[in-house]
């Protein structure tokens, strides 16, 4: 029974691969042939759209139309039957749990962005001077390949708690006990649980920051640094006066990317604490409103707040892109 359903699944997956690559390419071939029968003038007008339509369809169906729809639903009640004005937004900005989520999100944004970019920059500069650079970089970068769920399990184990007197199996509590402290419930103690979750995200993102910043550091012309050295600049002066200004645009890109990622991450909170004990963030609240409370109006309003938060990044990206186009 199980085997036959698996066989069906495998066949449907293979069919999807054929449909996904072969099917779509065949579709392009057919459309291309049909367009080729048209006179030249209308042909060159229609052909670009043949290439664009599949992409525009999925973009429209999965991103543009749903975004507009969510905007509308955010002004409606829980089952989207009647308009309720700004009620959902008033809830989002006054509910005590939401306010905690906002506070946590600010903590996440400041700490994850600041520490992973700062640490990534330090590693990028230091690693440039050692021979085993590729190995060190690969080890620090590796968490990027691990899912948020996988990382959550890894860190749940690091944070594991046993009552005092029993041997600790979590690394962090074992260290705490060895240093003579009481074991700490890292995920239940409200003073530390948010920081425990934030540490996971820093662990995941530092490698990303390091890789991008390291390639920027390598892009600094060697003679600039050499000249500064001959003029008697110390390594620290070189770092602050030359390295940082010369890679500032990369620092901005890395920071904005991490900011957007942090705003959207819900998995870590969802898996580690379920948002209990004051650990919710905006993105995990949204899923809670949607699934647990089935309040689509409130869930949508929270999603809109997330969108508003990333709009500045969106504007910066578009500006940067237009700049690139001009420079081409």
């Amino acid at each position: 029974m199980q085997d036959s359903s698996n066989a069906i699944r495998l066949i449907s997956a293979i069919a999807a691969i054929i449909f996904g690559s072969g099917g779509i390419i065949a579709l392009f071939y057919l459309a291309n042939m049909a367009v080729n029968r048209l006179p030249y003038r209308s042909r060159s007008r229609i052909l670009p759209w043949v290439y664009m339509v599949p992409a525009l369809t999925v973009l429209g169906a999965f991103l543009i139309l749903p975004t507009i729809r969510t905007l509308i639903i955010s002004f409606m009640d829980r089952q989207s039957t009647a308009f309720v004005g700004l009620d959902n937004y008033i809830f989002a900005f006054t509910d005590p749990n939401m306010l905690i989520a906002f506070r946590n999100n600010v903590l996440w944004l400041v700490l994850v962005t600041g520490i992973s970019v700062g640490l990534g920059l330090i590693i990028a500069v230091l690693v440039d001077r050692v021979k085993y650079e590729p190995l060190a970089k690969a080890l620090i970068f590796m968490p990027m390949a691990i899912s948020f769920v996988g990382a959550s399990v890894i860190w749940r184990f690091v944070y594991a708690y046993q009552p005092p007197g029993v041997e600790q199996i979590g690394l962090l509590n074992a260290i705490a006990v060895a240093l003579g402290f009481e074991p700490i419930g890292w995920l239940v103690n409200k003073a530390v649980n948010n920081f425990a979750l934030i540490a996971i995200m820093i662990w995941l993102q530092t490698g990303f920051a390091m890789v991008l910043l390291s390639s920027a550091v390598k892009g600094i012309p060697k003679d600039v640094i050499e000249a500064a050295r001959i003029d008697g600049a110390s390594e620290l002066q070189i770092f602050w006066r030359i390295t940082i200004p010369m890679i500032s645009s990369t620092i901005v890109v890395v920071s904005t990317t991490i900011i957007v990622l942090v705003l959207k991450v819900f998995d870590i909170v969802f898996v580690m604490t379920g948002g209990n004990l004051d650990t919710d963030v905006i993105a995990s609240r949204m899923i809670k409103e949607m699934f647990n409370f089935r309040n689509f109006g409130r869930g949508s309003a929270i999603a809109v707040i997330l969108l508003l938060a990333v709009i500045p990044v969106m504007v910066v990206n578009i500006r940067r892109f237009q700049q690139q186009e001009v420079n081409r």
Partner: protein, 300 residues
């Protein structure tokens, strides 16, 4: 300038100078090695624990395996067998493959065509379309979940692989088009114009010139999209719902945390099973992954 450096390096052969170089370099080595170890330790702990006996795992820390370092009897593969058959991890692993491969190939095919049109075809609205796509790069998925889920419920697509494939195709599209259009746009103009003058159609230029030359960019996007889909929890959670027969590894692992949160032998082995494919892809294709990151570091 080079003369000065040469002079200095030839002098530094004396023992005192060497010691000085070594002493100034020591803090750098120490910091780099310490950070690399610190970053690896949590994963190493997980891997070692997943190979230990369930009872021992709950009694002593994983680092105690280092005290009788050559005692290989303390390791076994039983946890993997238990989580693969008993907790449905084998099924989930298969499901993850079934989800990830089409959800990687479909967006590549669609995005490459669109990227070519945006880079090398003349049509009205080309610029504004690309600006919209750049803007869509950072739209939070959360903005789309409720309407798409409702549409899926009406169409009977929720809980199906097709629904997840299409959703990932849509969500991966902005990055795919952005990455590929930037790359395809830098191909030499002469090459493409010469082919056009020789009478090659757009389709021929696309299949014979553009796609072969763009393989590095396509590979970068493929690695990126594959890791993204394999590691995704949100899309699977929302669109596959509670349907356990189609759940990928991330969803099963998450449920395992909820139901068997203290069974560390299952959790550690399960987590490692969910990580093995991305880690292999990552180490084998790190070059492409980094290139994709450098080119597309605007996606959130």
């Amino acid at each position: 300038m080079t003369g000065v450096t040469k002079l200095r390096s030839s002098q530094s052969r004396t023992v005192a100078d060497r010691l000085e170089t070594w002493l100034t370099a020591a803090p750098v080595h120490f910091t780099v090695i310490a950070l690399a170890l610190l970053w690896t330790l949590p994963t190493a702990g997980l891997l070692i624990s997943s190979l230990r006996q369930p009872e021992v795992l709950l009694e002593t820390g994983w680092w105690t395996v280092l005290t009788p370092p050559l005692d290989l009897n303390q390791f076994h593969l039983g946890n993997y067998a238990a989580v693969l058959s008993g907790q449905g991890m084998a099924q989930a692993f298969l499901n993850s493959l079934i989800i990830s491969i089409p959800a990687t190939i479909m967006p590549i095919a669609i995005a490459t065509f669109a990227a070519y049109a945006l880079a090398w075809m003349q049509f009205p609205g080309r610029q504004i379309l690309f600006i919209i796509i750049v803007g869509l790069l950072v739209v939070p998925l959360q903005m789309t979940l409720i309407p798409v889920l409702r549409a899926y419920n009406t169409l009977g697509l929720s809980g199906t692989f097709l629904g997840v494939w299409l959703a990932h195709t849509g969500y991966g599209m902005p990055l795919g088009i952005y990455l590929l259009r930037n790359y395809i746009g830098t191909l030499p103009r002469d090459l493409i114009e010469a082919a056009a003058v020789d009478g090659a159609s757009h389709l021929k230029i696309f299949t014979r010139i553009v796609v072969p030359l763009s393989t590095p960019a396509i590979a970068s996007f493929a690695v990126f999209q594959f890791l993204w889909v394999w590691n995704d929890l949100l899309v699977a959670l929302v669109y596959l719902g509670g349907n356990q027969t189609v759940a990928p590894v991330t969803l099963v692992l998450r449920n395992l945390v909820g139901d068997r949160g203290q069974d560390w032998h299952l959790l550690t082995a399960g987590a490692f099973i969910s990580m093995i494919v991305p880690l292999l892809v990552f180490f084998a294709l790190q070059r492409y992954f980094v290139r994709g990151l450098l080119a597309g570091s605007v996606k959130g």
